[in-house]
């Protein structure tokens, strides 16, 4: 018999008979499961979000930059000594890399943006190649990105994020073709990006993109450090393409045969692996904290079950005297514990998903109900019920019927 209906009935009866005690127990498990599920769901949603952003790069595109993935101060100090990745480096790759479909580049500077009396300071101003729009997941809401021609001719044109529009053009319906001043120079707006919202508290819509050539012309060449995005012609041979780019850059930058690269090649995969590795510790720690609350819930269960057993010693004696075997008694008390934990788990899982959705909304993370979190929620409550319920149940089954019958 897989499920002992009689034991379920007895369990429900005992739970119903002690409503206050039962609800306290359920609450104990509820909060444990709630915290575990909230954390798991949120973490999962964050990782999904990052992965989705990265996967916008596509499997045949990889990035080259000066810093790569920095995991320590030493790394950072070493990377600082490296030469900047320059427009000339980009040119060499463009020229020498036969397997490259295209090479795109962007460079971050910061500057002020002005229109009439409205002024924004410290806005990220990206200088990029015209094909940059193909690499990154900017979507055009109105107008267009700048063209190769505008890039070649160092034209003063800008593709702007929606936040810029909102701030500089309050009430203006169509800012396309209008002029803004970036660090003192006039630029014409060619297009507006689609709203992306914020990701983990970062406004992703506060930016401007201008041609890299224009950026170099007005912002100056020093400290012009590029990040390259390179798309390989063939997905299957993307590692060969990376090697090609690597040898071109090493040769150009004069890296000694025995020295390491003075630049880094990053793929969506390697970035994801890195993100996973740095968040692993966090996840383990938070998971540990959540588990502690689960253990607390479990101890509450064990306590309550011990009380329940000692309160019902006589009942156990009666049952044994009329023929209940050990397994019958174990089942009875284990079922009681399991019903309590599963109820707590069910409520905790639903509330946890709800809470994760609310927090996700506040942090601009897409939270979806996954089978995984429901499965985890229910299985941890089941395990806690079994683990902390078995001891009191076995204790009950071991009671000597004669002693138990005498118990007052």
């Amino acid at each position: 018999m897989l499920i002992d209906i009689e034991a379920v009935r007895i369990g429900l009866q005992a739970i119903w008979a002690n409503k206050l005690r039962s609800s306290l127990t359920i609450i104990g498990v509820f909060f444990g499961v709630l915290s575990v599920i909230t954390i798991i769901t949120l973490m999962q949603a964050m990782m999904d979000g990052i992965e989705e952003q990265l996967s916008a790069l596509g499997p045949s595109t990889f990035m080259v930059n000066k810093f790569g993935i920095i995991t320590s101060r030493e790394d950072y100090m070493d990377a600082l000594k490296r030469k900047d990745l320059t427009v000339e480096d980009m040119g060499a790759v463009e020229e020498g890399c036969l397997d490259c479909e295209y090479v795109a580049a962007r460079c971050y500077r910061f500057g002020s943006v002005k229109r009439k009396s409205e002024k924004l300071r410290n806005v990220p101003i990206l200088g990029s190649t015209a094909n940059f729009i193909d690499v990154i997941d900017f979507q055009v809401e109105h107008g267009r990105f700048f063209t190769e021609m505008e890039y070649q001719h160092k034209r003063q044109v800008a593709f702007v994020g929606p936040t810029i529009v909102e701030e500089l053009f309050p009430g203006v319906i169509d800012p396309l073709g209008k002029t803004i001043k970036i660090s003192g120079k006039k630029y014409k707006i060619t297009g507006i990006a689609k709203k992306r919202g914020s990701m983990m508290g970062n406004n992703q819509d506060n930016f401007l993109v201008i041609p890299l050539t224009t950026q170099i012309k007005y912002f100056g060449k020093p400290r012009h450090n590029l990040a390259l995005a390179i798309k390989a012609k063939n997905v299957e041979t993307v590692t060969n393409t990376q090697d090609q780019v690597r040898s071109i850059l090493r040769a150009r930058r004069g890296v000694d045969y025995y020295d390491d690269d003075d630049f880094s090649i990053l793929t969506a995969e390697s970035i994801m692996a890195f993100v996973e590795s740095i968040t692993l510790m966090t996840r383990v720690v938070i998971g540990g904290i959540a588990s502690i609350s689960m253990v607390v819930g479990g101890i509450v269960i064990m306590n309550i079950m011990m009380v329940s057993v000692s309160e019902r010693t006589r009942e156990i004696g009666i049952r044994k005297s009329i023929g209940a075997m050990r397994k019958n008694i174990i089942t009875q008390f284990l079922y009681e514990a399991l019903i309590l934990t599963l109820l707590g788990g069910l409520l905790g899982t639903s509330a946890g998903i709800g809470l994760a959705a609310i927090l996700g909304e506040m942090m601009s993370i897409d939270v979806s109900v996954t089978f995984l979190s429901v499965a985890i929620g229910m299985s941890i409550s089941l395990l806690v019920g079994l683990f902390f319920g078995i001891y009191p149940a076995v204790k009950a089954a071991q009671l000597d019927p004669i002693e138990a019958l005498r118990y007052e």
Binding site: Q13, E315, G317, I318, S321, G323, M325, R326, L405
Partner: protein, 229 residues
């Protein structure tokens, strides 16, 4: 073959350094259909003997054959099965489940031997009918008088059709009139063919049996047989 055959039975308890012999070399036979009282003052070992006969406990030494089963060597689960099948207990304090109806209390032994729901209900109703409580099936113990509770307990003892009905001071918590009624019921059950063992310290109760076994200091002191009638 006797229903109960007890041979040189010892029960010894370890009390620290001392060993206490609750039963010393008890030998007795009880036949099917008998009505036996086990009598003795407190401390005489009658409770110990009842626990052994009722398979709630195992002897330290000796042989106990119940209905052909060697009980002395059984483990916990086998004892539970024997208690379920062969023994019907009636206790001084009734020992009913307080939150269960009469019907459920009487069904309980049947639950533990896997009788189907319908079978349980039918047998339990029949047993409650026998003790005259057909109209109290859905009452919980706290809605019943002491005498009615003991009737429920007797119905529970009967429901599995056991080899022995084992009553431990069955009238101890009842007034004289109700006690007489219960003893009358027990007598009636014996008349219908049930083997009955009553454990008591009152001669008034014991003398209703056809055979009285007197216990003192863990030994059988004497036996008394009475004429039927």
């Amino acid at each position: 073959m006797s229903l109960i055959q007890v041979d040189n039975l010892w029960k010894t308890y370890d009390m620290g350094n001392e060993q206490v012999n609750a039963l010393q070399s008890v030998t007795l036979k009880i036949e099917k259909g008998e009505y036996v009282a086990i009598m003795g003052p407190s401390g005489s070992g009658k409770s110990t003997l009842m626990n052994l006969i009722g398979c709630l406990d195992t002897p330290s030494q000796g042989v106990y054959m119940l209905n052909g089963n060697d009980v002395a060597s059984m483990d916990d689960n086998e004892l539970a099965r024997i208690r379920n099948k062969e023994i019907g207990f009636v206790f001084q304090t009734f020992n009913l489940l307080p939150r269960a109806t009469s019907l459920h209390n009487v069904e309980l032994p049947l639950i533990y031997n896997g009788t189907s729901r319908e079978g349980r209900r039918e047998k339990a109703e029949k047993a409650l009918g026998k003790v005259g409580l057909s109209d109290r099936m859905m009452h919980q113990p706290n809605e019943l008088s002491g005498g009615q509770r003991q009737r429920v307990a007797i119905a529970r003892a009967l429901v599995n059709d056991p080899s022995i009905i084992l009553a431990d001071e069955p009238t101890g918590n009842l007034d004289t009139n109700t006690g007489d009624e219960i003893m009358g019921l027990i007598q009636e059950l014996n008349r219908q063919g049930n083997t009955v063992i009553v454990v008591t310290h009152e001669y008034e109760i014991a003398k209703k049996a056809r055979r009285i076994i007197f216990l003192r200091d863990g030994k059988i002191e004497k036996e008394e047989y009475k004429q039927v009638g």
